[in-house]
């Protein structure tokens, strides 16, 4: 479904991605694991061209991705995205936020006048039902909790009826229980609808739990590729350089704390000692 060859991305003098080769199969739930700043987001953004690759080729569903306006629109209609900060429009109703997922597929001028094809409204409601928010459809989105907002984000992505969903740290701002719920909705939808999912995570235990396959990224390179059971301490060291066994256990125990809290945890341990 996705074929990436020799992908590099440079920001000024900084190499965010240093030659990525990656294949993602149809219907697969792939987790990209790595610390903040490893290049996970850049990788996703290159796939849907929110960032222009410096070099390398990306094939989506057998077609080479290009940057001209027409191919861009076609590509983005097929590839949906879910964001860490949800990126829902706060003042729009939940239903309208989900409907924005259909914008690329409907007549522009009528949508400017807030006129939507009935079939698209039906699709949006169906997607809201999948994340069990149909009773909130009329509410303004800024009245929802973080987890609910992300479910709206998932519904918006599903409303695109995409072949691929890119999820960029979808649960990084949520507590552990909500995180599981949100990731479950995502996994369920991808299984039932056969959507390929590429999901960035920095929490090791979620990666093990949800990833059918895991790709470890560190400093702009792929340093691991394999199943969740192959994610050993040795492998984690390659993905998170400088991470000792203690921190690995801490991360496993308090997944949301993860990388941000690691220095604090280390300090606490020092104080205890």
């Amino acid at each position: 479904m996705i074929k990436i060859r020799g992908l590099t991305k440079r920001y000024g003098a900084f190499d965010a991605l240093k030659g990525i080769d990656l294949d993602v199969k149809q219907g697969e739930f792939l987790v990209v694991l790595g610390p903040s700043g490893a290049g996970k987001s850049t990788l996703l953004r290159c796939i849907n061209r929110l960032a222009d690759p410096t070099s390398g080729d990306i094939h989506i569903d057998g077609k080479l991705a290009r940057s001209d306006a027409a191919s861009l629109r076609r590509l983005r209609c097929q590839v949906a995205m879910i964001f860490q900060h949800y990126n829902v429009v706060p003042r729009l109703s939940v239903q309208k936020n989900v409907l924005t997922g259909r914008l690329g597929a409907m007549p522009s001028v009528l949508s400017w006048l807030q006129l939507f094809p009935r079939k698209d409204v039906e699709i949006a409601l169906e997607c809201l039902r999948r994340v069990e928010l149909e009773d909130k459809a009329e509410l303004r989105t800024d009245t929802l909790s973080g987890g609910q907002k992300q479910r709206v984000g998932i519904a918006r992505a599903l409303a695109q009826q995409p072949k691929i969903i890119l999820a960029d740290e979808p649960v990084a701002s949520l507590d552990p229980k909500t995180s599981r719920t949100v990731l479950n909705y995502l996994r369920q939808a991808s299984r039932e609808l056969g959507i390929t999912v590429v999901c960035n995570l920095h929490q090791i235990d979620y990666a093990k739990e949800f990833g059918e396959r895991i790709v470890g990224v560190s400093a702009g390179q792929i340093v691991f590729e394999g199943g969740p059971d192959q994610l050993t301490g040795d492998v984690l060291h390659r993905i998170y350089p400088g991470l000792d066994e203690n921190d690995a256990r801490c991360n496993a125990a308090a997944p949301t704390a993860a990388t941000a809290a690691a220095p604090v945890l280390r300090q606490l341990q020092l104080e205890e000692a």
């Binding site: 849907n48 949906a80 964001f83 990126n87 924005t100 690329g104 400017w112």
Partner: protein, 272 residues
């Protein structure tokens, strides 16, 4: 430093020069103010000498001629009508252009600079001067006043609209682009919902300003209550002038009250 039971807390100057830069800044500031006072002939002795004359004019104005109120109803209404259409036209002129003047939406730097400067020019010319030009173009009456407010207001609103667009959360915009939405769709569903309250507040403020400006536009023949004000002064009918001033003050106060109430109501999160 301790003064009695008080402690003076002043941030100590950093850098090698100690207090020198601060003292120098103070000296320069005083020098500039003295220079400006000489140029503007600021003179408190003149003011004191003039006080009796101000008292004289006031005594000729008071009490206001309340009978004159009858004749002011129509010009006052006309002033509101001028302000209303001046504001509406300036919104219509500013909205299509402001997206090009926002750094996060503009297609390129040339367009950005051009639209910014366009707003600067229209905003830079005072309403009275614009009104003089439009009176010459379309003749005496309220319509040149409307045009003057529209052109000046478009510059001011365009700048504020563009700046509020620059302050929005980019996340939803990126999300809409990622769904394959077009540029206009992105603006309608991603930008407008985020700026609408700020825009309404600015437009209300602009209406209030326009009402104030419309009261003086009549001085150059562009309609409204200012025309009556200047007329009464020319005829030395100072009691009538006082009535005009009272009406103007009342209108401005009502406009200020209503628009500030509306603004706070909207910002508290009335449904958009």
């Amino acid at each position: 430093m301790n003064i009695g039971s008080y402690t003076l807390l002043v941030a100590k100057p950093t850098g090698n020069l100690g207090w020198l830069p601060r003292i120098a800044t103070g000296v320069v500031a005083v020098a500039v103010l003295a220079w400006a006072a000489a140029g503007a002939q600021v003179s408190f002795t003149e003011l004191t000498k003039g006080l009796p004359w101000i008292g004289d004019i006031l005594s000729r104005m008071l009490p206001p001629n309340w009978a004159f109120l009858d004749k002011l109803v129509r010009p006052a209404i006309e002033t509101i009508q001028i302000a209303l259409w001046g504001t509406l036209l300036s919104v219509i002129l500013a909205v299509p252009v402001c997206f090009f003047a926002a750094r996060n939406l503009t297609p390129n730097r040339v367009v950005y600079q051009f639209t910014r400067q366009l707003f600067n020019v229209t905003r830079g010319i005072n309403e009275i001067i614009l009104a003089l030009v439009f009176v010459a173009a379309v003749g005496l009456g309220p319509f040149p006043g409307v045009l003057a407010l529209a052109v000046h207001g478009a510059g001011m609103l365009g700048k504020f609209f563009a700046e509020s667009i620059e302050e929005i959360d980019q996340g939803p915009i990126e999300a809409l682009r990622a769904t394959g939405a077009g540029a206009v769709q992105t603006i309608i569903f991603g930008v407008l919902p985020q700026v609408v309250t700020a825009w309404i507040a600015v437009v209300l403020y602009r209406f209030e300003t326009n009402l104030r400006q419309a009261t003086v536009l009549g001085m150059v023949g562009a309609g409204g209550i200012g025309f009556e004000l200047v007329g009464s002064m020319k005829l030395f009918q100072y009691h009538d002038t006082a009535t005009c001033i009272v009406v103007i003050i009342a209108m401005v106060m009502v406009a200020d009250y209503v628009s500030s109430r509306l603004r706070s109501w909207i910002q508290k999160g009335a449904h958009a």
